[in-house]
Symmetry: C2
Subunit: 134 residues, 2 copies
């Protein structure tokens, strides 16, 4: 069985062709906003409704299968949930890169300053990628 189908079942989401396609795209593209997702889906399902995109994205977010990434000055994108990671966003070409960094030193420093019990560390770096800075 294909990967996307298996994943949907694991998250107790009914397997429909539309959902499989959404998961496939997020898997291959990494990050997509609603408009990009709709455009891609339209090419595969000419009569798909935007409402279907929203409904599916929302149910996948609720089941913690995908997550919304809120980027400063940009539209939110969605990605499959995996190991905690940070994002690098190019201000010019808008490319988004995932990066796994060790945040333990920052968390240690934080612990000494605040009594918060931290659950998640959300880091977004913005700047210019190597292609755009040429």
């Amino acid at each position: 069985m294909e990967n996307s189908t298996k994943l949907l079942k694991e998250f107790n989401l009914k397997v429909t062709p539309q959902r499989v396609a959404i998961v496939d795209e997020l898997y291959h593209k990494g990050h997509l906003n609603i408009d990009e997702l709709y455009a891609i889906m339209l090419s595969k399902f000419p009569s798909i409704s935007l409402a279907t995109i929203y409904k599916n994205v929302n149910s996948m977010v609720e089941k913690f299968f995908i997550s919304e990434v809120k980027i400063p000055s940009e539209k939110s994108v969605y990605e499959l949930i995996k190991e905690e990671h940070s994002h690098l966003v190019c201000e010019e070409c808008k490319k988004i890169e995932d990066i796994v960094i060790d945040t333990s030193s920052v968390l240690d420093e934080l612990k000494s300053q605040s009594k918060f019990n931290i659950k998640h560390t959300n880091v977004i770096f913005t700047g210019v990628c190597s292609e755009c800075s040429k």
Copy 2:
């Protein structure tokens, strides 16, 4: 002259009572979303329009006088721009705390992994504050 008035002039924004009040509130409360700001402003200017809030917030953002903070699963809040800092957000009471942490080790690690030329580092920690974890 009061602080807010002076600040508005420094950022080339005309000084109106509505703007002074917005800056005063952001200064005292630290972070406010649009609805909170509107509610507070309504109590001071009963006939103020939501459009006025939006117009002022947008012009202040454009002049880099205030900035939008996008928080996972929450409404965006606005704050006066100051030294770069991170945010701690309590998932339960929604309180937001500012914290200045040294991100140089993370930036160094990043530099060794990616060719991005980083301009800004945006860090949001989510968790439970000390009052709520009692």
